[in-house]
């Protein structure tokens, strides 16, 4: 079996194992797994409305997944996607609320602001890592809390238009479209999915085809060899964090300009950034893998909302997701089984 095939089969097996074990848990706790999965399928694909919701949910997952994956490819663990996502959201909403511009300028400007905010938020841990070798995991976790509380403060005190929310963004900055909405009988789908797919392409192109990508990947694989080859390791570390933060910021813009159209005070972390870690892991840190992993997560999350109708708590889906993540992380096990299996096949 070729290595490529094994790389492809590993996450698929992880998903299957997660679902099987989830089924067993349902059986043990006295729920009917058949009903549960039918409800889940109905909840995700039952009608176009649900599919619209899935697409809406997938959008920030893709971008958050790209953010984590990009940093990871350069050897950095960006746990701060959540925080970069929150500041990106606020920045996009601020541009959306404050300015009155034609759509063609307003949307790009709002997304750019989100990128800058996310990028800046990631620049700080990148700089600390490059200059003082402070571990990025610690700094990004702290930056998450700073983001959450600072953004809540700003929303509450500077932009509050009642009930702890900012005002609605102007129509010209909105990614929502009547046409899409009508097509999906009033779901909250928006054009953001196109942006997310473009970002997948950008990440792939940047890493695989450009000179800069060659350097970034080299730094990710072997910093000493990169240094030997005359690459600036520190510069590439900072750059990768900033680009990662930009993706996370765009993910935030999707919520601000698409899904919600405003920003409310957050009671806690949204979870999008953290789900991004799982998405990147399941997607093997590649652009295409992130896309499919995000799709799966979106389906599970939206489908789960319908599971209580079958008398099954939706939290079971969180268990299944956790199991999938567990099996991907334990992919070494799956790999060994696959390799054994393929050896027998040869004989």
């Amino acid at each position: 079996m070729s290595k490529r095939l094994i790389n492809l089969l590993t996450p698929i097996f992880a998903v299957l194992l997660g679902i099987i074990l989830g089924t067993i848990i349902m059986l043990v706790s006295g729920y009917n797994p058949v009903d549960a999965f039918i409800a889940l399928g109905q909840g995700a694909f039952g009608d176009v409305y649900q599919t619209g919701e899935v697409v809406r949910q997938v959008t920030p997952y893709i971008l958050a997944g790209l953010a984590v994956a990009f940093a990871f490819r350069v050897g950095l663990f960006n746990i701060g996607v959540e925080g970069q996502f929150i500041v990106g959201w606020l920045a996009a909403v601020w541009v959306g609320v404050t300015f009155e511009l034609p759509t063609i300028i307003h949307i790009p400007l709002a997304i750019l602001a989100a990128m800058l905010a996310g990028g800046l938020w990631a620049f700080i841990p990148g700089l600390l890592k490059a200059r003082f070798r402070v571990h990025e995991v610690i700094v990004t976790i702290m930056m998450n809390y700073i983001a959450l509380h600072v953004v809540n403060y700003i929303v509450n005190t500077k932009m509050n238009q009642g009930s702890s929310k900012t005002g609605k963004i102007h129509e010209t900055a909105s990614l929502r479209s009547e046409w899409l909405s009508n097509l999906t009988t009033g779901s909250s789908i928006h054009w953001g999915i196109i942006i997310a797919i473009i970002c997948c392409f950008i990440m792939w192109f940047l890493l695989e085809k450009t000179t800069r990508g060659f350097e970034l990947r080299a730094v990710g694989f072997n910093q000493d060899a990169a240094h030997y080859a005359g690459m600036s390791v520190n510069k590439n570390i900072i750059l990768s964090m900033v680009i990662s933060g930009c993706f996370a910021g765009i993910a935030g813009a999707m919520e601000g300009l698409g899904t919600f159209g405003y920003m409310a005070v957050q009671g806690g972390f949204t979870g999008v950034g953290f789900n991004g870690i799982a998405v990147a892991l399941l997607g093997g840190n590649t652009a295409i893998g992130v896309f499919f992993a995000a799709l799966l997560f979106g389906i599970l999350k939206i489908g789960a909302l319908s599971m209580p109708l079958a008398g099954v708590p939706k939290e079971l889906v969180d268990i299944i997701i956790a199991l999938i993540v567990f099996f991907v992380a334990a992919s070494y096990m799956i790999r060994i089984v696959l390799e054994r299996f393929s050896k027998k096949g040869v004989k």
Binding site: K209, N222, A225, Y228
Partner: protein
Amino acid sequence: MEYVIEMLNIRKEFGGFVANDNITLQLKKGEIHALLGENGAGKSTLMNVLFGLYQPEQGEIRVKGKPVHISNPNIANDLGIGMVHQHFMLVDKFTVTENIILGKEITSGGQINLKKAEKEVRDISERYGLAVDPQARISDITVGMQQRVEILKTLYRGAEILIFDEPTAVLTPQEIKELIQIMKTLIKEGKSIILITHKLKEIMEVADRCTVIRKGKGIGTVNVSETNPNELASLMVGREVDFKTEKIQASPKHDVLDIKDLIVKDSRGVSAVRGLNLTVRAGEIVGIAGIDGNGQSEFIEAITGLRKAEKGSIKLNGKELFGLPSRKITEAGIGHIPQDRHKHGLVLNYPIGENMVLQTYYKKPFSKTGILNFKEIYNKARTLIKEFDVRTPSEYTLARALSGGNQQKAIIGREVDRNPDLLIAAQPTRGLDVGAIEFIHKRLIEQRDNGKAVLLVSFELDEIMNVSDRIAVIYEGQIVAVVNPKETSEQELGLLMAGSNRKEAGEGTHV
């Protein structure tokens, strides 16, 4: 004479690849038996079969005449087989005794009885003349001492048969002499030794018999007293080998590299290079001889920009390089074959083809307006792979998958191809077999003959004596002597490397 170990017609396959094909090795009691073969010939595989790490597809292993089935290393240990690994398996922060008893602790009432253990270790050490201090911390003792701890470990576990895996690779000439003495003592005490090596000189000096394997096949066993290095080399490689590297007289010209009062600190902040002066001229090879840890690595890293130097001047063709980043230094005309090819020389997870442009990827035609031109990159790679005889399934194969010798050829190809004014080769042949060494030496001399300067750093005195036009001896971060290889001896160099001054060391003239 009885055999303590017999490995008969061993065959081991990996997938479709035959690593060992019908190899027979018979070890007599009380002999030193060398196992000779090129890199990748299957020496390690064979020993791993004996040690229970691999199961052979065919063949039989007998210990003292009895057929045995060695399914894991514990069984090998119980049968009295011990391995002295090339890469030591020691805990740095533990003492010698603690390392030796690890896994076999003597306990009394749930506590380790260190006193008793130390006494046992001291007894064994004295019996075999190892002179190891049982209370010393591993991080405080020399590499040679650490190796003795490894030997002690196997003896402590009751080994009768010791396998030495390339034991001299990390030792200084003096330490090698001592090791050979130790091996002889072990034999006198009734132990038997298998010595894995590709150094012919050592085999001639210490071994009784020698089994040669080539490309996984057993070529045969010879009595060392009835053979000579040339015969052994051709048995190993399968063709005639030149030992003396042929070269014409050097005709050095202007100074290319000029180093003055260089001071470099090591990673711990201690000065490793302490006021070093050296010049290398166009058209000559200067060899740096010295015992590992006398500042060679720091010196090379400082010249190539991998490490910041504290003070001094590094001039290349009159241009000051001090403090420049590594890219500027590379572009100024320095090629560097790094000491550690896995750490610095290659991105192992990149295809070998992309590693071929590791220094030039950002230049035309490989990169245009920030986009890589893979067609050009792989064209270049194919040319270099062919020219430098890099054996790889394809240019898209990951560098990781190539053998050490081919990885090294790839690096040399890449560096020589840029045609640098100064080529720095740090231990360019470490761990390589005779054929690859010959190839690399030829390439270095070719560079010299093309009027380039070459700086060679090596711990192998043979290599230094053979290839260099001038030898600079480094000791404690300074060049303590510059000698002419034709007018010096290994003895003199060995003493200079150990810190004796020139008068004590012997005649030798300044060049």
